[in-house]
Amino acid sequence: ERKRFYQNVSISQGEGGFEINLDHRKLKTPQAKLFTVPSEALAIAVATEWDSQKDTIKFYTMHLTTLCNTALDNPTQRNKTQLIRAAVKFLETDTLCYRVEEPPGLAELQKNEWDPVVDWAEKRYNVTIGSSTSILGPNIPASTKETFISHLASYNMWALQGIEFVITQLKSLILSMGLIDRHITVEKAVLLSRLEEEYQIRRWGKVEWAHDYDLCELRARTAAGTLFVHLCSESSTVKHKLLQD
């Protein structure tokens, strides 16, 4: 664990985008590239992560920094097509599509909580997804996958890293699209992702050092990923609305 070695954190604008300064030093990625981000708001949030560190630097809490490092270094060396393929592949094992038959309480809960989100995704993207109680999971039509592939292709590389990250955290493409499209909040998405855990917690009780710990970590990562995607895909101009009479 590293001690905090800097006093001031500031942002500056360079050629490739916004940079983070720790005192007079420019922040670099793990692969020693210059740390530059395309969005000022994202840079501010990253700077805040660094400024929030007290005596020691807790890298495991700096989710936005980590996401930026991944986007800059691309350690898994995947291109856009590979990222999209990995993201859409998750649909075959999407949490929301895997239903239990027992216990009936959980089956009912899944139906009541997950069906509306699956319905929303089907309407929003004009696809068929469905759900299954079989161990093999749902049968996702090729046309559905194609629709999501072409939709995700409209996002830039940075945003895609974020999207793929959120999908792997929530174990669900549908929930992730719900977040990206602002249909559900992070808290709701995490709750739906952990539906079975929450059901068991209600039945058997909660263990704070495990349940709450996991819950907070998942919320933090999902929130970071979602924010990252939105900040990397919005335009920087603020549209001013004219006052109407």
Binding site: A45, R182, W209, C216, E217, R219, L227, K239, K241
Partner: protein, 107 residues
């Protein structure tokens, strides 16, 4: 649209989290100023369903969730996972013993 509640509530909670995160000079921090500026810029509109407003509110709520969850996670980590191993003195003390003090080590 996601069920977000009142924007003012989100703003206040977010500013509070930034205060916790940043420390004494929170009002001068870039994040604090940016959030306030963004909310002020979107205040002047007569349309209730202004899309930009909703996008901003969702972003603010997401950032609030991030800051809050990181703080709570860290608190839980410190409480349950941060203590590490006990020293030999502590272990001895658990059962009421003290380690022997022998100059030059054991016989």
């Amino acid at each position: 649209m996601a069920a977000l509640g009142a924007p003012l509530r989100t703003l206040r909670a977010l500013l509070r989290e930034l205060r916790h995160a940043t420390g004494r000079h929170y009002r001068d921090s870039p994040a604090y100023r940016h959030v306030l500026a963004a909310f002020r810029a979107h205040r002047v509109t007569s349309e209730k369903l202004c899309r930009a407003q909703q996008e901003l509110h969702f972003q603010a709520a997401t950032y609030l969730c991030l800051l809050r969850s990181v703080r709570e996670h860290e608190a839980l980590h410190r409480e349950y996972h941060g203590k590490g191993e006990r020293s030999p003195e502590e272990v001895a003390g658990l059962v009421g013993f003290r380690l022997p003090q022998q100059p030059g080590g054991k016989g």
